[in-house]
Subunit: 103 residues, 2 copies
Amino acid sequence: MSKVFKALSDPTRRKVLQLLRRGPMSAGDLAAHFTVSKPTMSVHFNVLKDANLIHAEKHGKSISYSLKMSVLEEALMGFAQTFGFEDQRDPDQPTNSHEDTPS
Amino acid sequence: MSKVFKALSDPTRRKVLQLLRRGPMSAGDLAAHFTVSKPTMSVHFNVLKDANLIHAEKHGKSISYSLKMSVLEEALMGFAQTFGFEDQRDPDQPTNSHEDTPS
DNA sequence: CTCATGATTAGAAGTTTAGCTAACTATCTA
DNA sequence: TAGATAGTTAGCTAAACTTCTAATCATGAG
């Protein structure tokens, strides 16, 4: 639990998760979206992996990272539900809030 | 956003929020639930205050802290919804999660 | 085998965090 | 006014976090 929230406390790591919503991506392709060095990205990937939020699979000489939706959902929603939060969305009004504004 | 998740990444602070679900509590009463020193708790309160998750109100010589539900809900659910998580509960089995927890 | 590519490891610098004790401020009460 | 109570501030330490460069490992191509 602490690991998940700590992982989510960094804007870079949150953006990585957002990018992985569309499907698996290689470390290099992910890193291309950021200005930090590749070793730094590697560390971020490990933090996410350590929190069990992403899965790594080696394909040839690159690594494919994929989002573990269920883990993220369980951690986030599980905690949220202890506070009684419910999903408030109108089913007729699909969301398009696809951008996380890091601060 | 980062501040909220950072605040939530510490077990002590998460427990403080859980304790505040039932209603406002003084710094001392909150601190009584933990083994760490009062100055340390004071720091934790400040982190939560800085993340806008709690509100402080001075009453006489003690301080009453209260949970800012809406801020927590917006941060948590707002982020969750960018991943398309929905409320998984069975509509025929309503929860009592919005009721006041009797103490 | 050798080279280029994708990614990690190692080591270092600077920052942040969590915790402590001691000392301080503010408020109530006798 | 003096003492007790509630919290905070100051100063410190140890550990963890973030980021970098340089070096290394692993793989596929020629």
